[in-house]
């Protein structure tokens, strides 16, 4: 039997993840939409096939995955497996599945995403299954464009062209916000790369202060101050706290929303017939690069588990093409499984808008710059996301000038690298 339990953050902090019993596997899971429910359902079949195995799906808030899980793992009291997004940062705790699974199948199915789970040292371990591939991109309120009588910019339009168009639409339709971008360094990185930032060079040197990065920072700060970008998103929070603008978009208060493919399910459900929306991918920078950021979540096992072979079997089960395709269809995500992607996914109950959005995101994948892929797998990327959010916000509210903010990002990054060894 599978149980779905909602555990509070506090309970987890206390290390409630019970000591594993005979064949009990605890799976710490968070949902963007309905992922955990679907896993729970699919794993019931695994339990039926494997007598005595009980996979308990502990549904936690995303915050718990970010903040509590690493501490639990460091203290040796973590779950047996989890759905994580800090793919490289937690790599030291992953269970290498290679001895238990068919390496040929995994390598041909998951290809490059396997390296995201290997951390700084690389190697050829099979550490995790990329369960949902995501890519950042823009959602546009097509109804507002229509009402305003403004032509939607073409596929290869630049950020500036989009800013101009979105502002024109907002003005004509009396919409409060022309554009918004989620408050995280991850979303910021796509356009920054398009503006020429290297972020992570081929030899693995990180940078948050080169010319391209500074150029987009300056542009972004300017847009926040002249009302092109919704100031509430970046200026309304402190620290490195994540803040999205999905609700504003859903309420029809936002023309152009730069977020990512994981929002499709939510848009599909909550926008309904309220207005027409579509996905336009990532706009281009001045140099013609039109990159978004790849990303996503994966399912990993942890070395501390008492039942490595069962954990590996569970993950291998989820990685099988038919199961993976089913989960992808039911959760309306982009597949990272190459076989599933090649065969195409028939998204379940997805509206035409959602299906179109997902294929728009999928077709945007080839535009993703190599630096963006490197950044996604980089061990210290979480620290860099935080530094970006904090310092750029300070520049927006005027505590720092853009130059000072860029300088601080450079010194913060240096300190973070030193602290993380």
């Amino acid at each position: 039997m599978t149980h779905l339990k909602l555990l509070g953050t506090t309970a987890l902090a206390l290390g409630l993840a019970a000591p594993a019993m005979a064949q009990e596997i605890r799976f710490m899971c968070y949902s963007d939409g309905n992922e955990c429910e679907v896993y729970d359902d699919v794993l019931t079949r695994f339990e039926a096939e494997n007598d005595g195995v009980d996979v308990i799906v502990d549904v936690v808030p995303y915050q718990a995955i970010l903040e509590n899980l690493p501490i639990q793992l460091a203290a040796g009291s973590g779950p047996d497996m989890a759905k994580v997004t800090d793919l490289g940062g937690l790599s030291q705790y992953y269970l290498d599945l290679a001895p238990y699974v068919d390496r040929g199948y995994w390598e041909s199915s998951f290809g490059d995403t396997l390296s995201w789970y290997r951390g700084a040292d690389g190697g050829d371990a099979i550490n995790g299954m990329h369960s949902q591939l995501t890519i950042t991109g823009a959602f546009v309120n097509a109804t507002l464009f229509e009402q305003a009588g403004v032509e939607m910019p073409a596929d290869d339009a630049t950020w500036e062209e989009w800013a101009e168009a979105a502002s024109a639409v907002a003005e004509a339709t009396d919409t409060p916000f022309p554009m918004a971008l989620d408050r995280t360094g991850h979303r910021f990185a796509g356009p920054a790369i398009s503006y020429g930032a290297s972020i992570l060079s081929e030899d693995g040197t990180p940078s948050l202060s080169d010319e391209g990065f500074a150029a987009f920072t300056a542009q972004f700060v300017e847009w926040n101050n002249d009302g092109t970008m919704a100031r509430d998103v970046w200026a309304g929070q402190g620290g490195a706290t994540y803040q999205d603008a999905a609700q504003e978009f859903i309420n029809g208060e936002l023309v152009f929303y730069y977020s990512g493919s994981w929002q499709v399910g939510r848009m599909d459900e909550q926008v309904g017939d309220f207005f027409d929306w579509q996905v336009v991918g990532s706009p281009c920078g001045p140099a013609g690069v039109c990159s978004g950021m790849p990303g996503g979540a994966g399912i990993v096992g942890f070395e501390q588990t008492e039942h490595p072979e069962i954990v590996a079997a569970v993950i291998d089960f989820l990685a099988q093409e038919d199961i993976y395709a089913e989960v992808t269809a039911r959760t309306r995500n982009l597949p990272a499984h190459l076989g599933v992607a090649a065969a195409g996914v028939e998204f379940e109950d997805a509206s035409p808008a959602a299906a179109a959005a997902l294929s728009a995101f999928a077709s945007d994948l080839p535009d993703v710059a190599p630096a963006a892929f490197r950044y996604q797998g980089y061990v210290n990327n979480r620290a860099m996301f935080g530094i970006t959010a904090e310092r750029v916000s300070q520049a927006i509210v005027g505590e720092l000038s853009v130059d000072e903010a860029v300088e601080r990002m450079a010194s913060d990054l240096e300190a973070a690298l030193a602290d993380a060894q």
């Binding site: 903040e67 690493p70 501490i71 460091a74 203290a75 940062g89 100031r231 509430d232 200026a235 309304g236 929070q237 402190g238 620290g239 490195a240 706290t241 210290n380 979480r382 620290a383 996301f385 935080g386 904090e390 916000s393 300070q394 927006i396 509210v397 005027g398 505590e399 720092l400 000072e404 601080r408 973070a416 602290d419 993380a420 060894q421």
Partner: protein, 367 residues
């Protein structure tokens, strides 16, 4: 220790009441003698049943008493509590000090390299401490100055309003009991609930802006403006905690003897003069306690403002405890050492404030 024991032996009636109001305590004790004597018969049977059971405990305790002597036996009774305190209060403090001298982002102490006072020098490294931009840990100093401003404003405004409220509530007004409880209600609310309620009122599409729009004044995006967000944080904090200090001041006001006021009335002193020459001086000891308590609470402010603004816009409402939380737990890499060092610096400030409070307390009791 000897003193307490003596008191316990020859004073069966609860002694604390005696200190404050000797007359009433004695009267109550005398009135209670009768029923107690009647109940005595039943107690005798109960005792006969319980006594053998208690003997089981008594025998080893008597042995211990013989071995340790009566004075040292106290430690046996204190031991369980000491263990709990040691484990959950002293050990964490010691661990905090040890963590403050280590660096890196590992959780386990064994994996953390010792760096001596490195974390402290990093925090205190500034060209000009008044300008956070010149500091190595600029966020720490922003948080420090934000906290200083916040505490000054919050304590000033709050104690002022508490005094005013206490004086009004001490007067003969209609529905006095009702108003006294109304002002105390916010204290009972969870700080996070308070923050969310006010956020709901003040956000862009909040209740206040809806009202301002309706009134034709036009709304304003309060929480995205650094100054306003700070001002509202002060307001919220005052609103939430005022009731507690009002209550203390009210008690202080009621402790002022009536006859002094009567004498002033006979001398035809003006109300303002009565307030300045009688109320304020006689309220001073209570006032000092309130001030010091409010200062300590003010420095510790975190939850309500964190839930309210998240520390933003930028770092406008980031206070020192939030800085510690973010460095140690929310951010990446997790700098436990730096956070521990910063928390020790805050602890030093709080210890000073607490000493001031103790000193003030002693002075007001003695004088």
């Amino acid at each position: 220790m000897a003193g307490t024991r003596g008191q316990g032996a020859d004073a069966p009636a609860p002694s604390p009441t005696r200190d404050t109001a000797p007359g009433t305590a004695i009267a109550e004790t005398a009135g209670a003698t009768d029923p107690r004597a009647l109940r005595g018969a039943g107690d005798g049977i109960a005792l006969r049943v319980i006594a053998p059971v208690m003997r089981i405990i008594e025998i080893p305790m008597l042995g211990l008493q013989r071995v340790l002597g009566i004075n040292r036996l106290a430690w046996v009774f204190l031991l369980p509590n000491l263990l709990l305190f040691g484990l959950f209060a002293f050990l964490p403090v010691i661990l905090n000090v040890v963590y403050a001298t280590t660096g890196g982002d590992n959780v386990m102490l064994a994996d953390r390299p010792g760096i001596g006072a490195g974390n402290f020098t990093r925090l205190l490294d500034c060209a000009n401490h008044l300008d956070p931009n010149t500091c190595r840990e600029d966020k720490f100093w922003r948080a420090v100055w934000n906290t200083v401003w916040f505490v000054t404003l919050q304590v000033g405004v709050m104690v002022g309003f508490s005094l005013l409220t206490a004086i009004v509530l001490n007067g003969k007004i209609r529905a006095r009991g009702f108003f006294r409880s109304v002002f105390f209600f916010p204290v009972l609310l969870s700080p996070v609930v308070v923050a969310l309620i006010w956020k709901w009122m003040l956000q862009r599409n909040g209740v206040l802006n809806a009202f301002l729009d309706w009134a034709g004044i036009g709304g304003y995006n309060w929480l995205v403006d650094a100054q306003w967000a700070f001002a509202w944080s002060v307001f919220l904090s005052v609103w939430a905690h005022m009731g507690f200090y009002t209550l203390i001041l009210l008690a202080g006001l009621q402790a002022i003897p009536r006859d002094v006021y009567e004498a002033a009335t006979m001398d035809r002193a003006s109300p303002w003069r009565v307030f300045r020459r009688i109320t304020l001086p006689l309220l001073a000891p209570t006032m000092l306690v309130v001030l010091v308590l409010a200062l300590i609470k003010g420095v510790q402010t975190f939850d309500e403002v964190y839930a309210f603004t998240g520390g933003g816009p930028g770092t406008a409402t980031t206070f020192i405890i939030q800085y510690i939380y973010e460095e140690g737990f929310a951010g990446s890499p997790r700098l436990f050492g730096l956070a521990a060092a910063a928390s020790l610096l805050v602890a030093a400030v709080l210890v000073v404030l607490t000493l001031v409070q103790l000193w003030v307390n002693r002075k007001s009791v003695d004088g």
